[in-house]
């Protein structure tokens, strides 16, 4: 792949936290950082809505009859592969080669096919700590396929020790050694249907944690079975350690392991959970400093006779919920209340968005509150053979966060595409400081929704951690104290359904908000504080 030199950053603003690291009984170590800023690009237009662009990639077009689990589609990942300051895209494809879309700027992309075929999950992550984002897929047979990024050129690589069957993946530093570890989950139901032998499943299916060491990956099998559509790595019990949450399809409950000093402890933290957890996301939706956890599932968004009739044959075949089962076929919003996670999706108006895949929070209108975008639809001859082209056509759902704890539909943003979305990311592809949306659709072109909403301000924070193999500080968290409240974000390599986030944090806030302090909590527990960061810039923070 062509390489471009990194664009020079515009200015070096400050060196912060000049004192040596200090430790007190209750305070984290403070570490100094260098801060560089680059102003945002000028927004291309302000139309008050999103503008749909079709990208030069499509999946699902080569298969005549989509049935079984082909309809589950594939993901998309974002990251700057060539250090040119622009975020590139990589799409997985269930019926052809995966594709890199190199970002030339001005929302122009150059496609480059990869030799990875029939892929599902995709992540961009710096596996070897050389500062370049590598690319990792899973494919339909369940293998993990990796590409090493040699200064912008992708070359096949092996991940020694990684041999479990995988559908979904997530990356994070789970043991605090600075290297990014890998968690994979298999999708046993599909594997069985494909005829994978029982002894192979017995040996290689389930949930694996691969600890990244200098000698390769060391596997630990956390479960011998899974139907893992999504994996989230986050601190569920607020003890500072990253836990593992695997969202399972069908009647298998979601599986959670807490990262404790005595090892990985399985637990069931939720009284209610989605039955078929399609994707997991989390965000501070009310700027309270606490995270709410969102899972998507299948639940008709409308209850009119036509919609119910479209769903009913499938529901009759698949509904196996029994009394006492904590799983419900509905989106869940787990909020921490009175010492427990409680589902607040119904009263927040987000429990039913259709046959939902990726559901992601992002402050789309930059009012300081994170909105919600969910992509929907299903294509499967065995489930929806009674519908034209065997497709359950549903609009994607965008819900504006009112700031009062509820979400309301925002059709004026024109995000109600009826293409059958699967993997999806909020990502700023034109560097103007607002999140655009990229969707990997089934049986249709991938779409980019350019954010042309007007107003608001932004701050994009990317972290560089010199001397650590976790060069992008995956797992770091940041709190931005502003005149309109406390905004929090974290750095992730995984996001939503089968997809990979760009390793940066995008804050949105009202135009008149003043930024007071940006506090970064690094993955090793150290913190850095930046006073009065400027708005409307890309802020590169180097430790």
């Amino acid at each position: 792949m062509a390489i471009r030199a990194a664009l020079p950053l515009v200015a070096v603003i400050a060196i912060c936290g000049c004192a040596r690291p200090t430790v007190t009984a209750n305070q984290p170590v403070t570490v100094p950082v260098a801060v560089r800023t680059e102003p945002y690009a000028t927004a291309r237009a302000c139309s008050g809505a999103f503008v749909e662009h079709r990208l030069p990639f499509a999946t699902g077009l080569r298969v005549r009859d989509i049935s079984g689990y082909l309809g589950n589609g594939a993901g998309v990942a974002a990251g700057d592969l060539d250090h040119d300051g622009r975020l590139d895209l990589v799409f997985a494809s269930i019926d052809g080669p995966a594709m890199v879309l190199h970002n030339n700027g001005d929302l122009d992309f150059t496609p480059h096919e990869l030799d990875a075929q029939f892929t599902r999950d995709v992540k961009m992550v710096d596996i070897d700590g050389d500062g370049w984002l590598d690319v990792v897929f899973t494919d339909r047979p369940g293998a993990v396929i990796a590409y090493h990024n040699h200064a912008g050129t992708l070359e096949r690589m092996t991940l020694p020790g990684v041999d479990g069957l995988a559908y979904s993946t997530a990356w994070g530093d789970l043991n605090g050694d600075g290297r990014l570890d890998l968690v994979t989950a298999s999708y046993d139901t599909e594997l069985r249907k494909r005829g994978v032998a029982t002894d192979v499943l017995a040996a290689r299916a389930g949930v694996f944690l691969y600890t990244n060491t200098s000698a390769g990956f060391v596997a630990q099998r956390l479960s011998d079975h899974a139907d893992g559509l999504s994996i989230a790595l986050l601190d569920l019990n607020n003890d500072g350690a990253t836990d593992i949450w695997v969202g399972n399809d069908f009647l298998g409950r979601d599986a959670v392991w807490l990262n404790s000093s005595t090892g990985w402890q399985p637990t069931e933290p939720f009284k209610r959970m989605s039955e078929s957890t399609m994707s997991i996301d989390w965000a501070d939706i009310d700027n309270s400093g606490t995270q709410a956890l969102f899972t998507t599932d299948m639940n008709p968004a409308k209850r009119d006779p036509h919609t119910l009739a479209a769903w009913l044959p499938m529901m009759t075949k698949t509904d196996q919920t029994r009394a006492g089962d904590p799983q419900i076929s509905a989106n869940m919003l787990q909020v921490w209340s009175s010492g427990a996670w409680v589902d607040a999706a119904p009263q927040r108006g987000i429990d039913a968005t259709g046959w939902s895949w990726a559901g992601r929070f992002a402050d789309l209108d930059r009012d300081g509150f994170q909105d919600l975008y969910v992509v929907n639809g299903m294509i499967a001859k065995d489930l929806f053979g009674h519908l034209p082209d065997s497709e359950l056509v549903e609009e994607n759902t965008v819900l504006r966060n009112t700031g009062h704890g509820t979400f309301i539909a925002a059709p004026e943003w024109k995000l109600g595409s009826t293409l059958s979305g699967r993997g999806m990311l909020p990502v700023d592809l034109d560097n103007d400081g607002d999140p655009d949306l990229v969707v990997n659709n089934m049986r249709g072109p991938a779409t980019l929704f350019e954010n042309q909403l007007c107003g608001g301000a932004g701050l994009t924070v990317s972290l560089r951690w010199r001397g650590s193999a976790n060069t992008q500080a995956i797992g770091a968290r940041a709190s931005l104290r502003t005149s309109v409240g406390l905004l929090t974000r974290d750095v992730r390599a995984s996001g939503g359904y089968l997809s990979g986030d760009a390793p940066l944090m995008l804050f949105g806030m009202p135009e008149k908000a003043t930024l007071q302090t940006l506090t970064i909590l690094w993955p090793d527990g150290a913190q850095s504080v930046i006073d009065a960061p400027p708005a409307n810039v890309n802020l590169e923070v180097t430790r």
């Binding site: 639940n299 209850r303 006779p305 036509h306 119910l308 009739a309 479209a310 009913l312 044959p313 009759t316 509904d319 196996q320 919920t321 029994r322 009394a323 006492g324 419900i328 509905a330 119904p346 009263q347 927040r348 108006g349 429990d351 039913a352 009674h386 519908l387 509820t406 979400f407 309301i408």
Partner: protein, 264 residues
């Protein structure tokens, strides 16, 4: 309608139980039950009819005994009390149906769709529609016949709402069925869909209630239809028993007073 004095036998704290007792019809009831079980067993074994037909045959064989009892009650106690007796018996059987569904779901571990009770695999939506409007009409007739007490008014409200609920589910049933047929789907029934209340019902999912407390009213908008209607029927049956009991007790002859009349 003429008010006929209650016989002494029905005096006491729970005259409604005396009314429901088979009394002299016990022997016939048991004989018909045995006959019904045998006939239904043979019929189902020979023809391979489904389980609900078996139960329907048994119920049908009990009907003549009921008719005999109710005719005798009409002659002895009047039309109103006969109607009360019919309603109590029928509502009791209906409650047993819901109880069986509840047991199938909660105890046996079947899915809501599999929890068909004794006869609900037959067209439940139309049966419930007709049944609940019949109950409402019967309650109105009973109230016009004198069963007017606070519990009866409450029963009227609960039965009225129940009839409205089943009107909604029946309309939805017909509309969805028409949509299914238009899609060429003929092997899927549109029964058991949520109504106004219950999880995913109108109240929980209406645009007017989205994001409000109405979406999460414990039980009313959080439980599956099977549970909601089980408790709804239990409430209705309980109110009918209580209202009927108050009605019957008020009409029963007072027990003779063997004490001394107070002076003055």
């Amino acid at each position: 309608m003429t008010a006929i004095p209650m016989p002494q036998a029905m005096a006491g704290r729970l005259p409604v139980l005396s009314l429901l007792s088979p009394g002299p019809h016990l022997r016939a009831t048991l004989l018909n039950l045995v006959a019904g079980l045998v006939i239904a067993g043979i019929a189902v074994a020979v023809t391979g009819w489904p389980w609900w037909v078996f139960n329907a045959i048994v119920l049908a064989t009990l009907l003549p005994v009921g008719i005999g009892k109710w005719r005798e009650e009409k002659h002895r106690l009047g039309v109103v009390i006969m109607l009360l007796s019919i309603l109590l018996t029928a509502q009791g059987v209906h409650s047993i149906e819901h109880l069986v569904q509840w047991v199938q779901y909660h105890i046996v571990g079947l899915t809501p769709r599999q929890s068909n009770g004794l006869v609900s695999a037959a067209n439940a939506e139309w049966v419930h529609f007709v049944w609940n409007w019949s109950v409402l009409i019967m309650v109105i007739v009973l109230m016009r016949g004198g069963m007017r007490n606070p519990l009866a008014w409450l029963l009227l409200a609960v039965a009225g709402l129940h009839a409205v609920e089943h009107t909604y589910t029946t309309i939805q049933h017909v509309q969805v069925l028409n949509e299914l047929r238009a899609m060429g789907v003929t092997d899927v029934t549109a029964q058991g869909l949520p109504g106004i209340i219950g999880r995913d019902g109108w109240l929980a999912r209406s645009p007017w209630t989205q994001g409000t407390i109405f979406c999460t009213l414990p039980g009313l908008t959080t439980e599956v239809r099977l549970d909601v209607h089980f408790w709804w029927n239990m409430l209705e049956t309980g109110l009918l028993l209580a209202a009927g009991n108050v009605f019957l007790a008020a009409r029963a002859p007072r027990a003779p007073n063997h004490g001394h009349e107070p002076n003055g």
